[in-house]
């Protein structure tokens, strides 16, 4: 086992780590937005909002992430290609590359999980708060923005941070369709150094630990502060 390969691979792996952070931060922000929309839809009194939202959440949670990645990368490009051909547009499939397909798959997958966290957070605020707000004459959206949301958000931060840690690890799956993530660099170096792969794995796992351990300590610290404050 030749550990000097770690020094040679380090710049490439750090570049991969930077890409991982970019993937995760952008996907998580978009997933939070889409998750909020989904949460509001799945709690709606209109079946035509609730139905599609719940079907979407159940389908996403019952299919593997890697299948969703393949569908986004290969499937979406095929669909866009056929669509562009039948409508005579420019080929829309050029917009599907490793970055867009990876971010799209991560966003669509994590929005389902964030929607469940949002819903749990909104339901954890006592109904009495909403009833008091409505009896004071606030309408439904004022109640949501000024009463429910400020009380729900601190409770939702730990699950969100935990989900971010899961996303840091699930971003590794983007490596099966793209070439710029940390796991892709690991794969590339592993193939070109077939006999001496263990140090590369150690380096890649250490870099992921550097990303995820501080985040989990932050989550635990925040949870302790929250429980002390309640």
């Amino acid at each position: 086992m030749d550990f000097s390969i770690i020094l040679r691979a380090l710049p490439d792996f750090l570049d991969g780590t930077k890409n991982t952070i970019i993937y995760c931060v952008s996907s998580f922000a978009l997933a939070l937005l889409l998750g909020l929309v989904l949460a509001l839809a799945s709690g709606s009194k209109y079946t035509w909002l609730r139905g599609p939202a719940r079907i979407y959440i159940e389908v996403i949670r019952s299919t593997p992430m890697i299948a969703q990645m393949f569908l986004m990368y290969y499937g979406l490009s095929t669909i866009l290609f056929n669509l562009s051909n039948s409508f005579g547009w420019n080929n829309l499939a050029v917009y599907v590359n490793g970055w867009t397909a990876g971010i799209a798959a991560l966003v669509l997958n994590y929005a389902a999980y964030e929607a469940e966290v949002f819903r749990a957070g909104f339901l954890s605020v006592e109904r009495g708060q909403t009833e008091a707000a409505l009896s004071l004459g606030l309408n439904s959206s004022q109640n949501f923005i000024r009463i429910v949301l400020p009380q729900a958000v601190p409770l939702m931060i730990p699950p969100f941070v935990n989900d971010f840690i899961y996303m840091l690890k699930d971003s590794a799956i983007v490596s099966v369709i793209a070439g710029t993530e940390l796991t892709s660099k690991l794969d590339f170096w592993r193939i070109t150094n077939g006999s001496n792969t263990i140090p590369l794995f150690i380096l890649a796992m250490a870099l992921y630990l550097v990303l995820s351990l501080p985040t989990s300590y932050f989550a635990r610290w925040y949870e302790r502060k929250l429980r002390a404050a309640l």
Binding site: G51, I165, D170, A172
Partner: protein, 303 residues
């Protein structure tokens, strides 16, 4: 209004669950409710479209459905064996985390933190390429062991070729090592959630700690750990699809690999088989999710 729904499992303790969306009979019903019927119509249209899509590819389906079914069978076999092994690893890990002996505690803590902090894909690569290379140099051959074992059971014709057995072995090891770490935390939480008064009562009755664990703590902890265990099993079934990424020579024909190989030449067929594979995963995982939901209600604690 939010109405509670009461489940009676016949054990004298009705569970109450709450329907968590606004009821339609609220005052501001509005004209938007008409769109409900648009939704129902669109569901029928989507289902019809799906049936038409399947009909378009009926030749491919009749040709390749048995292969896909075999792939699904492999997936289920891999998931169940990985879960059993992961439960064993998790139990050992939980005992380690709760041990009075320092180094066992630290070893278990390192195991859990490292495994939970790194992606499962890298761990599968590590097992499927890194550790496999090391063990092959040492001369460890899973195929020979499995073959000899199956010969004792008189069924050695069931053993597939060495590449498949090796890939399956290292895949199962990778998956169970990963899920063992998560199950360690589940089991540890389950054991710690049993009130300390139970242990104290056992001690006051003169039981030693092994008897307390076996007769008092573990039966109660079992009830608490069933719902997260079921949810992790569903996630495990989906993560077994990742094994298609380490099957470098497509040795391990589980569902995702099969879907990729039967359609490699034609992008339209590829899309169809990825959708079909996802539907098969749905058919496996959605009933499991309903079962997990039922278990969550059934084993809910009364406070």
């Amino acid at each position: 209004m939010i109405e509670p729904k009461i489940h009676d499992f016949g054990d004298g303790d009705p569970r109450v669950s709450v329907i968590t969306h606004a009821n339609q009979r609220s005052a501001s019903r509005g004209w938007l409710v008409i769109l409900n019927y648009v939704f129902y119509a669109s569901v029928i249209a989507v289902v019809g479209g799906l049936v038409y899509y399947l009909y378009q590819f009926r030749d491919s389906i009749t040709l390749f459905f048995p292969t896909l079914l075999a792939g699904a069978g492999t997936t289920i076999f891999l998931s169940i064996s990985s879960m059993i092994l992961a439960a064993i690893f998790g139990f050992i890990g939980a005992l380690g985390r709760l041990s009075r002996f320092g180094p066992f505690r630290w070893l278990a803590a390192i195991y859990v933190e490292v495994i939970r902090g790194t992606p499962i894909l890298i761990q599968l690569f590590l097992w499927g390429f890194g550790i496999r290379g090391l063990l092959e140099q040492v001369g460890f051959d899973p195929y020979t062991i499995v073959f000899n074992f199956m010969t004792i059971l008189q069924s050695n014709s069931l053993v597939p070729n060495p590449n498949v057995v090796d890939a399956a072995f290292y895949g199962i090891m990778g998956l169970s090592f990963n899920y063992g770490a998560y199950l360690t935390e589940v089991f540890r939480t389950g054991i710690e959630t049993v009130p300390i008064g139970q242990t104290e009562a056992g001690l006051s009755l003169g039981l030693n700690s092994r008897q307390i664990l076996r007769h008092i703590v573990l039966p109660q902890a079992f009830r608490i750990t069933i719902p997260p265990f079921a949810n992790y099993f569903i996630t495990l079934v989906q993560d077994s699809a990742l094994l298609s990424a380490i099957g470098g020579a497509l040795e391990l024909q589980e569902l995702t690999t099969t879907a990729a190989t039967v359609s490699a030449s034609n992008p339209n067929r590829q899309l169809f088989f990825y959708v079909f594979g996802a539907l098969m995963f749905l058919a496996i995982c959605y009933p499991l999710a309903l079962l997990a939901h039922y278990l969550e209600l059934r084993f809910a604690e009364a406070y």
